[in-house]
Assembly symmetry: C2
Homo-oligomer: 381 residues x 2
Amino acid sequence: DEPPQPNPEDPYAKDPSRHPALHVNTLKPFNAEPPVELISENYLTPSQLFFKRNHLPVPEVDPAAYRLRVQGASGKTLSLSLQDIKKKFPKHEVTAALQCAGNRRGEMNAIKNTNRLGWNVGAISNARWGGARLRDVLLKAGYKQDDEGHVCFEGLDRDQSGTVYGASIPFKKAMSPEGDVLLAYEMNGEELPRDHGFPLRVVVPGIVGARNVKWLAQITVGPEESQSHWQQKDYKGFSPSVTWDTVDFSRAPAIQDLPIQSAITEPCQNASVSPGELTVKGYAWSGGGREVIRVDVSLDGGKSWKVAKLTGEEQLPGRAWAWKLWQLNTCVPAGTKELNIVCKAVDTSYSVQPDTVKPIWNILGVLNNAWHRVRVFVEEE
Amino acid sequence: DEPPQPNPEDPYAKDPSRHPALHVNTLKPFNAEPPVELISENYLTPSQLFFKRNHLPVPEVDPAAYRLRVQGASGKTLSLSLQDIKKKFPKHEVTAALQCAGNRRGEMNAIKNTNRLGWNVGAISNARWGGARLRDVLLKAGYKQDDEGHVCFEGLDRDQSGTVYGASIPFKKAMSPEGDVLLAYEMNGEELPRDHGFPLRVVVPGIVGARNVKWLAQITVGPEESQSHWQQKDYKGFSPSVTWDTVDFSRAPAIQDLPIQSAITEPCQNASVSPGELTVKGYAWSGGGREVIRVDVSLDGGKSWKVAKLTGEEQLPGRAWAWKLWQLNTCVPAGTKELNIVCKAVDTSYSVQPDTVKPIWNILGVLNNAWHRVRVFVEEE
Ligand SMILES: [Mo]
Ligand SMILES: [Mo]
């Protein structure tokens, strides 16, 4: 059999090739996450394994012809080439995790299907980003520290009707000297890959993935949030009682900051483990620059807890944008047939994760940060 | 019988008189909370009903002789009279809730006694505070916006060995133009009452009560947190697995920012209610200036939820220091004998409360923000 030929009328025909280990949720647009067992193998997720969350086809961009439009404070629009962005602004590097609001939606779908991407625990990854500070670009465009409103981004990715991806963040976050918001052209020390926004993307540390606009085309500043579908009619949290018949999108704020999160990446769900020594591994992260200060792990479904060992680069206070990996070396009690492994994390505001998924279930299937649970079977000796 | 005569050797003999409705946890030092049914009667808690959390006897202070010592950046100490503080710095007003870290400890004690104050849901109250900005005083004392470290406070309250109450907050919070940290001399439009720190106290919006030092004697700035017992060996959070034999206080950060909280104040625990219309009321608050965006209420122990109506003054983004009151007008389903009323709140970081108390139980009995539950009986028609 011959391999399938690309269809030139397929808007996704020019999408890049991807790492074969990725678990694909949808091919068009491409949405995929790394295999669970690889997630905590690296503090910095290799770019090829970093989760991909595309809303539209990956645009083809000629870096020489690329221009970023920035609406200036005076009304005049700045047009910046890639070289302008690299040479006219100091390069700033930040280690930050990005998490999709839909991370762990699979567990929500298991309660009641949202008919949206059934992410496992891999819609979060951690990378080293390099680029210009958005703050420096906004200052160059004439904005002042005390200006207000929202900074709106548009991507070069568009559907066949011409709708482009868009999102916004508060001006205060964009302009804060401690906000570390980047216009990134590097990921893990290399040129930004096409799937991650080549040649330029926004990286908004501590804020939901959806605002980290890729293939950045345009920046505007105004009194209103982005009017895009993704800012107005998606990426918001609702009570479990809200249905598609009763939902009022104007009543919930657009997700920015995300709550404390953690997951178990080893052992895998339904794995068999040997009696005796057991290593449990995972990640933990919180939004808003809050640092993860503790991860508790239970082997008995949450009745008793042990404290895991955390690892990760030191981060500045209030600017803990990166995740932490954690590990617990423990022992499977003799006579145990099954373990119900649970993890839960705590951040610097002493915020904790809720025990169960159902009371935070919502029609969009976002914001699942319930305790993560993995059942494993203990082999007979 | 004659009333008991004050003992002049009792260090608490000069404590002020208090409102008779308060529920007293300990008399010496005085620790008391308002009756549950009064908590949500007022958006601004009347000062007499505002929870009292004293660690030591209430000092007697002559306002004319009072001086605040502020260690200056150059090493020279400023001495400020009450008039200096009122006249030399602009008066700033802030509505902020204060919450004791031990609020709702009674529910933790019911699981396993911590032998510490068994607060019900009333160790939180909301007031309008007026005073000088700490930031302005620090600037006057020669500190710069970009200085670092911690601002340490000492009170005039002391035990018989001479130990004074002390605590600290990060310099960044103290100096932030948006931190709204006050040296308050007014509470709800009147002179600060003795139980709340007359003539001057610190109000640190969004931060645990314990750092809001009353009867303020001294401010110093340094690279280390306060060395006081209350900063170093109390007001920290630990895993439920940590015991007094294994606790290592150096491993947990001092609580500053507090997590999302809510409680039901009406109906009362074990109350009888009529079938038909039912009003459920309560409060909700989150630390760090995060705004409460939603409160979910369940009548069936958490199986199904309704969204409550929130009320409260508008607050600036990231500066939501006040609590919100909430109310649900609902109906008791016919044939119901008992209701298990539950509430849980969500803040702007979409942080939620954990389902149950036991997995967050800790030896200090702090940080109980599990769903609040009230059982009521439905009268027969
Ligand atoms: Mo996302
Ligand atoms: Mo407290």
